[in-house]
């Protein structure tokens, strides 16, 4: 039975083996791509993802498409993608060319018609994007920027922004990333040490939640004020 190479009449079993191989290749292609999240993709990346997807499955469409015909294009695409990414990291001007520039659509409350026209964004689309960002009155908007990944950044005039503790001369609690100390009944001692507590302290505190055994805890976290969050196994 022939699986690889150019085959005119490929059997069902041949296709199934090919599917298996394609699945493995797709995994590695995805691995390579996952470095940037999908929502950060620029228009160009976006199309590239589609192309890679279509390329990878091509041997399943037609027996005459051999794996050489997909592996070479795949490697070629990776090669150019790699070249362009490294150039972009080195040179800011070229990076802006390859990845696109942010475009200002509203500048200090004024709609820049030229930029809207250049990017074929009509007023309906602009208003609809504002609504999606919970802005129903365009007069509240100071800046609108079309980012290279196609998302709109919208900055309101200051009076229309929420009141912050600074406005009221209040001092807010600092940002705190609690550490996980128990996950699914397993203790992470290094995180305990980082917070300056020990196992005995933890057991005493767990006793207040009527927990005697660590294995009964599904998740426990601790913040820098040594405050615990505990979720028991149901």
């Amino acid at each position: 039975m022939r699986v690889f190479g150019v085959i005119k009449d490929i059997s069902l079993a041949g296709y199934l083996i090919r599917t298996f191989v394609v699945g493995i290749i797709a995994f590695f292609v995805g691995r390579y791509l996952s470095k940037r999240t999908v929502s950060q993709l620029t228009a160009y990346d976006f199309v590239l993802v589609w192309v890679l997807g279509a390329l990878t499955v091509a041997p399943l469409l037609d027996g005459e498409i051999s794996f050489t015909y997909i592996v070479v294009p795949l490697l070629t695409l990776f090669f150019w993608h790699y070249v362009i990414s490294s150039i972009s990291l080195k040179n800011r001007k070229l990076s802006l060319f390859f990845n696109g520039k942010p475009i200002i659509l509203i500048d200090d409350g004024k709609i820049i018609r030229k930029n809207l026209k250049k990017h074929f964004i009509n007023v309906d689309l602009l208003m609809s994007e504002l609504r999606l960002k919970n802005i129903f009155d365009i007069a509240e908007v100071k800046y609108v920027i079309l980012e290279p990944n196609g998302h709109f950044s919208i900055i309101k005039y200051q009076p229309h922004r929420p009141v912050t503790p600074t406005d009221l001369n209040l001092i807010a609690k600092p940002v705190d990333l609690p550490l996980v100390i128990i996950n699914d009944g397993k203790l992470f001692e290094e995180n305990l040490i980082k917070c300056g507590v020990d196992k005995e302290w933890l057991m005493n505190n767990l006793a207040m939640y009527n927990i005697e055994d660590i294995t009964n805890v599904y998740l426990a976290t601790i913040d820098s004020f040594k405050k615990l969050y505990i979720s028991k196994k149901a």
């Binding site: 620029t42 160009y44 279509a54």
Partner: protein
């Protein structure tokens, strides 16, 4: 290597020729997305999505199919791009012809049943959308609009929104768009001029940060209150 073969024959290519064929198509595709780039993933309407999927599939299958010729692939991509450009131009010039209207689903806390079926949404869809938009209470929703891009916008009653500075009569301070002024020791003159700043100002800012040489700066951001944020 046979240049004629790369363009006109698909079946006899060796690995190097395949590499060149794919590279050419890659840059054709790059140019095509560059031209069409105005409609980017974030503002995809279903139509744009279709176009992106289409053009990628064309180039991809042309890259791999031994029976296809490169000239065909290039011409198809170019024409397809032109069609897309033309339709996008229509979106701008004559939106009433091509673009879909937003549909109002909820108005002043009341469902508009007719429009709900027009948008092909079940009541469970609707409740799920409201939850995702942090509007847990239907009666407090002033507007729920199904946008042409396929997303939904929600306006809740103003009394249920965070307090803004205008509500509290707080004086606004100076506020501009944060911009990259210095990158790898190089000053962006355009931004400097636009904000009516000069070199003396930069020097003063550098001095107050105890930096003698501008080349030591990796990133200098002009912050929204017109100060220089420096990261060496």
């Amino acid at each position: 290597m046979d240049i004629h073969a790369i363009f006109f024959k698909g079946e006899t290519l060796n690995i190097l020729e395949l590499f060149i064929r794919t590279s050419i198509l890659y840059f054709v595709l790059f140019g095509s997305t560059k031209v069409m780039g105005f409609r980017q993933p974030g503002i995809l309407t279903s139509y744009n999505f279709l176009m992106a999927a289409g053009i990628s599939h064309i180039t991809a299958s042309r890259m791999v199919n031994p029976k296809s010729r490169l000239v065909d692939a290039i011409s198809i991509t170019v024409v397809y791009t032109l069609i897309n450009l033309f339709i996008s131009y229509l979106y701008f010039k004559a939106p009433s012809v091509v673009s879909q209207k937003p549909i109002i689903l909820v108005k002043n806390g009341k469902l508009i049943k007719n429009n709900l079926s027009k948008a092909k949404l079940t009541i469970d869809n609707l409740i799920s959308i409201l939850r995702q938009k942090d509007a847990l209470n239907l009666e407090k929703v002033e507007y729920l609009i199904a946008e042409a891009t396929g997303d939904f916008s929600v306006a809740v009653n103003n009394n249920n929104l965070p307090i803004t500075k205008i509500d509290m009569a707080i004086e606004p301070s100076q506020d501009i768009l944060s911009q990259i002024l210095i990158y790898k020791g190089k000053i962006d003159e355009k931004i400097l001029k636009k904000n009516r700043l000069n070199y003396d100002w930069i020097e003063k800012e550098l001095k107050s940060n105890n930096i003698d040489n501008i080349n030591d700066i990796y990133l200098g951001l002009l912050t929204s209150d017109k100060k220089l944020y420096i990261s060496p």
